[in-house]
């Protein structure tokens, strides 16, 4: 006879408001096997947990059900509490009466009835739970970091400085990411490159950081502590070990008019190029779309100029394998590409702003290059069309952001701040110029942030109009910006020389593909999902995979860096253990009833179901059977569903448990 304890949580008012917790506790006492039932205001708090621990000891409970929030929230917590009281942690089940009940229903009678059912199901299940022992696996103490922008760089340095190896993968030819291209940073106005480039150099020189540039993650197999990453090293056509970075090659390259990605098309580069002078590694790459030698077989000047013999036109992509224990994703963002082909029809729009049609309508990152001392104009503000100094510049915030019609309902968070910064940078360079800003709201929460915006308005006299711009047209070399000042209640028309669009932040191209490869979640906007918005903000739902920076949501540099260090900290916690525990909720095969049809072997996504022989002591073959490789099984249970004789089963979600749950609903 079971001795189950049921613990019903009020979650303050969150559950108790719509579910009669007392009634739930009383009702559960009637369920078969229930020995004890209690309710408490906060089960997850220390007094709540100690209530559970004490009852386990006092009543010798052999299973507990906590009726509370989602198991994704606190199953681990309560398993820990059980373990502390000597109860096997896998004898704990959660009845989710918050997310699945009190928060989605209003009628107290119905919600209470449902909560009682949910507890009934959980009790039925826990009575069939097996005490499981965590599987111990060794930890490969090497971290893979995907993306070498400021977040990836920070995480890599933290982990490497702590004494562990890091594999840092960047798809561009240099580390640095978006921050390397910024001019100055809010709210301190320190130069972006001045603070980032020393970090980039550290990454390039660190003995424990293995840096791959021009590389992408091809696939990731395995599981936490024991991943195997396959990295595609794309052909660079330059052997960076031989290359000295002397610059003879790119200075001689005849292909001079290739739009520079680093300058967002505001400047040019060669076909063999380093993206910017402070690049790390300071080694060029050849753009195979632009190189005459690679395209047409003519030229070859760079190879002739290269004294080190580093140019290799026959270079090919290579696939390299790296054993990895933990992964940090830091793939960052891109700006909403107005006028470009959009992934969905919903995202297309803003053609009325003339981006891509009028040369003097640019986006915020292009403006950064325009005011950057290392930019194509050397920091002199010249408008793209004719190089003239713009006397009236209009900045438009929320281009795409907070626009439900475009499917981007979120706030891009940093635009208010950088737009204020842009007006100041502009005013500092063009003293007789006037900056105009169209905004929806000014969101400047953050240390010294609002003060910064006030400075832009009060000291540098940026004119702020609360309203949207309806249309930008071009007449006689001027951009006619027509919008509304909703505070004054009047239409506004500004004859501008330059317009800067604060386009929405979107996840970097391909981050959804990467998420699928890593089997981590992403939201409807393509941003990667954290495991819990408050308590597990850098973890994903896949153990051993963490996220940081703008791949998770729009965020500024300080936040990205803080998150990166947080993710690095999580990795270091993992690496501080010799071995780690894996969830034992995996498949098993009853070899005595297995008929060796191998449906499971064909089906298993991880090749964890294997063909095996059963032999007697003399070594004679008794029968063939399927067998689960515990190291590979991830516990999906697909084998259970395809096994006709039900010889396959899944710990934690066994047929006995699941059928008992369903039958409890009769």
């Amino acid at each position: 006879m079971s001795r189950i304890g049921v613990f019903v949580c009020w979650c303050g008012e969150n559950i108790a408001r719509t579910v009669d917790v007392v009634q739930v506790a009383e009702a559960s006492l009637q369920f078969p096997g229930v020995k004890h039932a209690a309710h408490y205001k906060y089960m997850c708090s220390e007094p709540g947990q100690s209530l559970i621990r004490d009852k386990i000891l006092a009543d010798r409970l052999d299973g507990i059900v906590v009726a509370s929030c989602s198991p994704h929230m606190h199953l681990k917590t309560f398993r820990g509490a059980a373990q502390a009281a000597g109860l096997n942690p896998y004898l704990v089940e959660i009845a989710n009466i918050r997310e699945h009940c009190s928060w989605v229903h209003q009628d107290k009678a119905k919600a209470t009835a449902k909560a009682i059912d949910l507890v009934r199901m959980a009790v039925a299940k826990v009575r069939r739970n097996n005490a499981l022992q965590a599987i111990k696996v060794p930890v490969t103490k090497r971290a893979l970091i995907i993306g070498a922008g400021v977040a990836g760089i920070q995480a890599a340095l933290d982990i490497a400085d702590a004494g562990y190896e890091v594999v840092l993968v960047e798809r561009e030819p240099s580390v640095g990411g978006k921050m390397a291209g910024l001019s100055e940073t809010f709210p301190t106005m320190d130069c972006s490159q001045c603070i980032l480039t020393p970090r980039m150099v550290d990454v390039g020189q660190h003995p424990r950081i293995k840096l791959y540039t021009c590389a992408e993650v091809e696939s990731v197999d395995g599981y936490v502590g024991n991943f195997k990453a396959t990295i595609r090293q794309k052909a660079r056509f330059v052997d960076i070990k031989k290359c000295t970075g002397c610059g003879e090659c790119w200075n001689a390259c005849p292909q001079k008019k290739i739009a520079s990605e680093f300058d967002y098309g505001m400047g040019n580069r060669r076909a063999i190029y380093i993206p910017f002078p402070q690049a790390v590694p300071a080694r060029p790459a050849i753009d195979k779309q632009a190189c005459l030698k690679l395209k047409k077989g003519v030229c070859g000047i760079c190879a002739k100029k290269c004294a080190a013999g580093a140019i290799n036109y026959a270079d090919q992509d290579q696939l390299l394998e790296e054993p990895i224990g933990a992964i940090i994703v830091a793939t960052g963002y891109q700006l909403y590409q107005i006028s470009a082909q959009q992934p969905t029809a919903e995202l297309s729009g803003y053609g009325e702003y003339g981006y891509g049609q009028y040369k003097d309508v640019i986006d915020a990152l292009q403006f950064e290059r325009l005011v950057s001392a290392s930019g194509p104009t050397g920091g002199v503000i010249q408008r793209p069309s004719d190089g003239k100094e713009p006397k009236h510049v209009v900045f438009i915030s929320c281009v795409g952001s907070r626009d439900n019609a475009k499917g981007i309902s979120y706030c891009s968070k940093i635009c208010c701040m950088y737009t204020a910064k842009h007006t100041m940078l502009y005013k500092h360079k063009v003293h007789d110029g006037q900056a105009h800003v169209f905004y929806m709201d000014i969101r400047s929460g953050g240390k010294n942030y609002d003060e910064f915006v006030r400075r832009a308005i009060e000291q540098d006299h940026a004119r702020y109009y609360r309203g949207r711009v309806s249309k930008i047209t071009e007449e006689n070399g001027k951009l006619i910006v027509r919008g509304a000042d909703t505070l004054a209640g009047t239409p506004v028309t500004i004859e501008a020389d330059l317009v800067v669009l604060a386009s929405a932040m979107r996840p970097a191209t391909g981050s959804d593909d990467l998420a699928r490869k890593l089997r981590i979640g992403y939201d409807q906007n393509g941003f990667l999902s954290e495991s819990h918005p408050k308590l597990r903000p850098v973890e994903t739902n896949s153990a051993g995979i963490l996220i940081c920076g703008a791949c998770h949501a729009p965020k500024d540099i300080p936040e990205s860096v803080a998150q990166a260090s947080a993710a690095a900290g999580k990795v270091l916690v993992m690496f501080s253990h010799k071995e780690m525990q894996r969830d034992p909720e995996i498949a098993k095969i009853n070899e005595s009833t297995c008929s060796a049809c191998f449906a499971c072997v064909r089906t298993c996504p991880y090749q964890a179901a294997e063909k095996a022989d059963v032999r007697d002591r003399a070594g004679n073959l008794v029968k063939r059977t399927a067998r689960i490789n515990q190291g590979l099984c991830m516990g999906c249970g697909t084998c259970v569903a395809v096994c006709p004789s039900k010889s396959a089963d899944l710990e934690g979600f066994s047929d006995q448990q699941i059928y008992a749950m369903v039958e409890s609903l009769l």
């Binding site: 699945h100 989605v104 979640g521 739902n541 996504p605 999906c636 699941i658 609903l665």
Partner: protein, 149 residues
Amino acid sequence: MSAHPTGVFEPKVIAYVCNWCTYLGADLAGTSRLEYPANVRIVRLPCTGRIDFNLLIKGFEVGADAILVSGCHPGDCHYTSGNFHARRRWILFRQLLDTMGFDMNRIHFAWISAAEGKKFQHVLTDIVEQTRRMGPYAAYSKICEEVSC
């Protein structure tokens, strides 16, 4: 549960959902306070690939008036391909149930991701309302009551 105090027919809906997409979608519906009828009982399984066809029959045996099976969208499976295996089985299984005269309006399949709290709300509301209109699944409860030999 099927006889609510008010005497209105309250359908019993069982949802077999995967842990990583639809269960989290239901969690998101909760954190977003998206209200839906209280008629559904969710059974959490790791993956749609784990959901055995016998569970659907068992669901009707315990008096479900409608059943939902839901998991990750194709390509998004936490276990890479469990939902593809499941989908192939469902194609055939639906045909079998149809041939046997099961009411196909009571068996629902959906892809609901962790980000689709709204979709979870809509699908559930829709199923409950549709089932409420159809009434109890009398044909199967008759089977479950009768002793034939």
